[in-house]
């Protein structure tokens, strides 16, 4: 068995033959005394051809990997018009050098300028400048780029791959990508991720052409290339591959399907996310909305209170990306296990029952106001809904509603657009909220049950305590009855009810949820399609509430 360790930059596992890709890099000659006008005309033609190729590649990338990938080639096309880059070439032509040498030198000058910057993102951009430079050179010298000359799909191996090479290669022939150099910031890594091809970069010199033609496993999650795995390793690799195949099969058959049971009961399958970056995963897994957008990331990542503008941008980005699908954003939920220094919260003996979540917001109206303003401003850009956590009393909800009204009045007076019909909901995660759910339902547009906290408070089991084992039972009939009471109260009042805790993805409870008439289940993005498959096989009418009894 041989394991080579690199950096996993795109997830997935594949098995196949390693194919070393060769770039037809022609050698650049340095000549002096060249004819200025002739060289200039040659360079002009090469640039025009390059621009046309980049335009075509942008279209190809747009079709295969989306706008994000296309912009990369459009940016390359803009490099072609960079004033300094062109001036550097012109200067060398003026000195009598040939066009090839001028292009190569100019490219190297700017690539090394970027490579010497401190920021790793900018360093990776040096590869983009070299890519563009290589393109002009190929066009100057009439070099045709190399392809994959293999019968079946292969593991594409190379010293490094330029983004333009990655997009041009025939995808049906690439199982996975493995390179000696490169990093997670390289555009090749970004392209591999958007196209769903497993990739490992930075394997070093150990990974060389001697491996051409060998069989290997590529594991994107761990960044490993594995040859001749032993029995135990082989079994684990094959098990992962089978699981991956299952997921791909779900992708093929379930994306674009409705979340509806055989007898026509619709359940909305939404996603839980923790930052705007997670939206890509929601879209890839065909989530029909966002059932829980935790706003904590804005506070946890910062050194000081995030401004209204920062928050607005994050909420707006998600709302716009979801294109009219519902985005439920939960207001600040810190305290308990999530601590933020600059809030200067008092140390508590029992923080799970301390000043946390909505209690902080109601105690600090300025913090609450800033977030509500950002949320309402974002409501003009998509279907935003606002959700308040840790509600235990009617007065709390009334106070939240008053705070919302004040913010709406302010925005109206300032002439800032917002949606006055923004849905307001609460999380049901305290036993108190379950017991007065009928009253709470009169005040809001929806309920969403947070099963993790509701389990902890109902069973008096600390979720942070690892020793509770069998005592911490989220399937406890008490919890399921609490869910049923919540659902009944919601439906009596004509509002909808969802579940956004971990239990929502528990397929063994799906029949119970269907029997209760739960309207929405919000799960981690990768759980959407398995849940959809299960819903589409269910018959809601025949589901029973037997699990509610011990």
């Amino acid at each position: 068995m041989k394991i080579m360790q690199g950096q996993g930059v795109s997830k997935g596992i594949e098995h196949g033959t390693i194919y070393f890709y060769h770039r037809c890099a022609a050698k650049v000659e340095k000549r002096t005394g060249a004819h200025r006008q002739e060289e200039e005309a040659r360079l002009e033609r090469a640039k025009e051809r390059s621009a046309r190729q980049l335009g075509e590649m942008a279209e190809k990338a747009r079709a295969e990997a989306g706008d994000e990938a296309a912009v990369l080639f459009e940016t390359h096309a803009m490099f072609l018009e960079d004033e300094d880059y062109l001036a550097a070439m012109d200067e060398l032509l003026e000195q009598g050098f040939n066009a090839e040498y001028a292009v190569q030198q100019a490219g190297e000058k700017f690539a090394s300028m970027l490579a010497s910057m401190e920021d790793s993102y900018m360093q990776a951009r040096a590869a983009d400048v070299r890519d563009v430079t290589g393109r002009i050179l190929n066009n100057l010298m009439g070099v045709v780029e190399g392809g994959i000359h293999a019968d079946g799909p292969v593991i594409l191996a190379a010293e490094d791959l330029a983004p333009s090479e990655t997009i041009q290669l025939d995808k049906s022939k690439i199982l996975a990508i493995a390179t000696q150099k490169g990093s997670g910031n390289s555009h090749t890594a970004i392209l591999a991720r958007t196209m769903g091809i497993p990739a490992v970069c930075g394997l070093g010199e150990e990974f060389n052409e001697d491996f051409h033609g060998r069989q290997a496993y590529i594991v994107g999650e761990t960044g490993q290339v594995i040859l001749e795995p032993d029995g135990e390793m082989l079994a684990s690799l094959e098990a992962r591959r089978a699981k991956q195949e299952e997921t791909r099969e779900l992708m093929r058959t379930m994306v674009g399907q409705e979340d509806v049971t055989l007898d026509g009961k619709q359940v909305h399958v939404y996603c839980n996310i923790g930052s705007p970056e997670d939206v890509a995963s929601v879209l890839a897994n065909d989530g029909q909305g966002i059932g829980l957008f935790r706003s904590e990331f804005l506070y946890l990542a910062a050194q000081d209170y995030p401004t209204e503008e920062e928050q607005f941008r994050a909420y707006k980005e998600v709302a716009a990306a979801m294109q009219g699908k519902r985005v439920i954003i939960r207001t600040l939920d810190i305290g308990a296990d999530k601590q933020v220094d600059y809030f200067h919260l008092h140390k508590e003996e029992n923080p799970a029952m301390g000043v946390r979540a909505i209690r902080i917001c109601l105690n600090r109206p300025q913090v609450f106001r800033t977030q509500l303003r950002a949320l309402y401003r974002a409501s003009a850009y998509g279907k935003v809904a606002i959700m308040f956590p840790m509600i235990a009393s009617v007065w709390e909800v009334k106070e939240c509603r008053r705070a919302c009204q004040r913010v709406m009045d302010e925005l109206t007076a300032e002439g800032i657009p917002f949606n006055p019909d923004t849905e307001l909901g609460i999380m049901i995660e305290t036993p108190a909220a379950v017991l007065i759910a009928d009253e709470l339902a009169q005040l809001v547009d929806f309920f969403s049950v947070g099963t993790n906290d509701l389990t902890q408070y109902t069973l008096a089991c600390d979720r942070q305590c690892n020793d509770l084992g069998k005592f911490f039972d989220p399937h406890h009939p008490a919890l399921l009855r609490a869910l049923k009471m919540t659902a009944d109260a919601a439906h009596q009042a004509g509002i909808w009810v969802g579940i956004c805790g971990e239990l929502a993805a528990d397929l063994s409870l799906l029949p119970t949820f269907l029997a209760m008439g739960i309207d929405e289940l919000s799960v981690t993005p990768t759980a959407v399609l398995p849940l959809r498959a299960a819903i589409r096989k269910s018959i809601a009418k025949t589901c029973t509430l037997e699990r509610l009894n011990s």
Binding site: E74, M78, E83, D119, Y121, R313
Partner: protein, 86 residues
């Protein structure tokens, strides 16, 4: 000459994509020189690599200057662009 200052909000700063988009947004004002300055360094929007080379990050204040026949409209368009994209 028209000028405005702006505090960069985008967590990545002026990276390749917005730098490219900025160049595109400035195209209609070809006769007007538009530049971005951070501290004592500055780059024109037509100098894409130099612009990235400024290393502008989230929280940095940049000064954007437009000078030429269309400076009024160019500055307004740039201000809009920065607010929406950076």
């Amino acid at each position: 000459m028209k000028q405005f200052s702006y505090v960069i909000q985008d967590p990545l700063g002026i990276h390749a994509r917005p730098a490219g988009a900025l160049g595109k947004a400035a195209k209609p004002f070809a006769g007007t020189v538009i530049s971005v300055a951070k501290g004592d360094k500055s780059a024109k929007v037509t100098q894409l690599m130099k612009l990235m080379g400024l290393g502008v990050k989230a929280g940095d204040t940049v000064t954007v200057t437009a000078e030429g026949p269309d400076e009024q409209a160019a500055a307004a368009a740039m201000e809009q662009f920065f607010k929406e994209n950076l």
